[in-house]
């Protein structure tokens, strides 16, 4: 290590600590507020050492029962995983298709104001509610089973993809739209000749990402009875069948890992 480096970079780091909030008074007030909030919330939630300490032996017991994972009911496992994958694939595909009109209507530079606001309201509404809330409503309408799960994931995929693509359309340089309009092309040709080529890579990339996300979410909508491996998992917990639980969890982890790898690989090839 040379002396130069020492004097060059060592000193400023000591003396120029960047503070998030520059005024000391405001900083201390905020810190005090944070501490008060912590005390309040911990007491409000009734979190105490007693609960934590009684939990620990139970956790130890649980892990003891989990190991070794039990793969003997592999046919159930495969059935559940396959159902999750199928749900993710179907939901991604229909989500992709439904997202196209919604993305167009959600781009402020393409459609009249009322249409834009309506589309954006739909997107916000479906993004706000957690998948499981949507899933349970669908279960009430369509009954138990993968249909409710697929519909849930379709709603989530559509709003996600359309939000991303709408933003991409809004970020397009206005000149390109202007130029194509100036040739006398109508809206439909503007779509296929200008907006499609410019936003297609983003659309495909987001859709593939969504396939990966759907795979992750398809493992959980089953908890409220909407199909997939989550249903099997929830059942093992209610039966204290922990060695099978661990087997399922390991498979989910592997599945998500593979899904993410696949998604990254495909997106790497899309330019």
């Amino acid at each position: 290590m040379t002396e130069g480096v020492e004097t060059q970079a060592g000193a400023p780091l000591q003396w120029h600590r960047i503070r998030l909030i520059e005024t000391p008074a405001a900083r201390y007030v905020l810190m005090a507020l944070a501490v008060i909030y912590l005390i309040w919330s911990v007491s409000a939630l009734d979190l105490n050492w007693h609960r934590l300490s009684t939990g620990l032996p139970r956790a130890a017991n649980m892990f003891a029962r989990m190991i070794p994972p039990d793969f003997s009911r592999w046919h159930l496992l495969i059935k559940g995983v396959l159902e999750s994958i199928e749900m993710a694939v179907a939901a991604s595909f229909f989500g992709m298709i439904l997202a196209v009109p919604l993305a167009i209507c959600g781009a402020s530079n393409l459609v009249p104001r009322p249409v834009y606001l309506f589309a954006r309201a739909l997107i916000v509404l479906s993004r706000t509610f957690h998948e499981i809330i949507i899933a349970i409503l669908f279960v009430k309408i369509f009954g138990f089973g993968p249909l409710a799960g697929v519909l849930t994931l379709i709603v989530a995929s559509t709003s996600f993809i359309s939000k991303m693509v709408a933003e991409d359309i809004e970020n397009m340089p206005p000149g390109q739209l202007e130029a194509i309009r100036a040739t006398g092309a109508g809206f439909s040709k503007l779509l296929i000749y200008c907006i499609t080529p410019q936003t297609l890579p983003r659309y495909l990339g987001v859709s593939i990402y969504r396939l990966d996300a759907n795979l992750r979410h398809s493992t959980v909508v089953g908890i409220v009875g909407a199909g997939g491996i989550g249903e099997t998992l929830a059942a093992t917990f209610s039966r204290y069948d922990y060695d099978f639980s661990l087997a399922i969890l390991l498979v989910i982890i592997a599945l998500v890992f593979v899904g993410e790898f696949f998604s990254n690989w495909v997106r790497g090839h899309l330019r």
């Binding site: 060592g10 780091l13 139970r58 957690h130 908890i223 998992l233 204290y240 989910i252």
Partner: protein, 270 residues
């Protein structure tokens, strides 16, 4: 044939894609459609359910209207509990995620084994959904907010740890070397060389994750891990749709507000 020769010989023919490229595109399309068709068929969806779905949906909507405002007084506590779970879960995450990120970053880990352990924790944490973590912790701590806080924390470690580890891997090596050169020990290097550089990332992702956690903690109650979800689940199962409507409105409000707050704070930080 070069493009120039093509233009000279066939000035009236032009194709966007060569026949080979077209073929490949169609094959891809075919493969995708085949996979989708197989998935949908294998799911064995009872299509006749769709016949009266719109009736069911309107029926549900009618039964939800108007929201049961008298129920509002009972919502306050669970709503606050939901926010507490998300916030405390995020606080626990920050404490736990930093050491894991430190292990999972190539330039700060001790050896390949610790790196692998760090990476595995991150992947496992992210692969298991918050609600599944909830199931696990309800089995350990019994129903209640304690399970919820841990579920939020365990899921968020992977998210924050991954981003912080990436930030650590991208830090300016010069500053770290400078601190090492002063004869500082490992902890001092960490505190003075690395922490200041990744602090902005930690702040940003914390606020961002908090806002996601608010949304997640609204459903933890479905598995008994506390918050507004317990009330929602109970109301749905008792078919008290007007209560459900009010809860959904409240959830919508809280999530939107938290998103707004998170965006505002992140804007100030950066």
């Amino acid at each position: 044939m070069t493009p120039q020769q093509h233009a000279d010989e066939h000035p009236e023919i032009w194709r966007r894609f060569s026949p080979r490229q077209t073929l490949i595109r169609y094959i891809w399309l075919l493969v995708i459609v085949a996979v989708v068709v197989w998935s949908v068929r294998h799911l064995d969806i009872p299509w006749f359910y769709f016949l009266d779905a719109h009736l069911q949906a309107t029926d549900l909507a009618i039964r939800m209207w108007p929201p049961d405002w008298s129920f509002f007084s009972e919502l306050a506590r669970p709503l606050i509990e939901t926010i507490h779970i998300a916030t405390l879960g995020t606080v626990v995450t920050v404490v736990l995620a930093f050491p894991v990120a430190f292990l999972a970053a190539r330039n700060t880990t001790f050896n390949p084994l610790t790196w692998f352990v760090g990476r595995f924790i991150l992947v496992a944490s992210r692969s298991v959904n918050t609600v599944v973590w909830g199931l696990l912790f309800v089995a350990i701590f019994g129903p209640g907010a304690m399970a919820g806080v841990w579920a939020i924390a365990l899921r968020s470690i992977g998210f924050m740890g991954k981003l912080v580890a990436e930030a650590i891997e991208e830090i300016d090596v010069g500053a770290v070397e400078a601190i090492e050169a002063t004869g500082a020990n490992r902890l001092q290097v960490l505190m003075y060389g690395i922490l200041p550089q990744v602090l902005p990332v930690i702040y940003g992702t914390t606020v961002y994750r908090w806002d996601i956690n608010i949304r997640e903690s609204t459903v933890l109650g479905f598995v008994g891990a506390g918050g507004i979800g317990i009330l929602l689940y109970a109301s749905i199962n008792q078919f008290l749709w007007r209560e459900v409507a009010l809860i959904l409105l409240a959830v919508f409000g809280v999530v939107i507000i938290s998103e707004f707050v998170s965006a505002a704070v992140r804007k100030r930080i950066s």
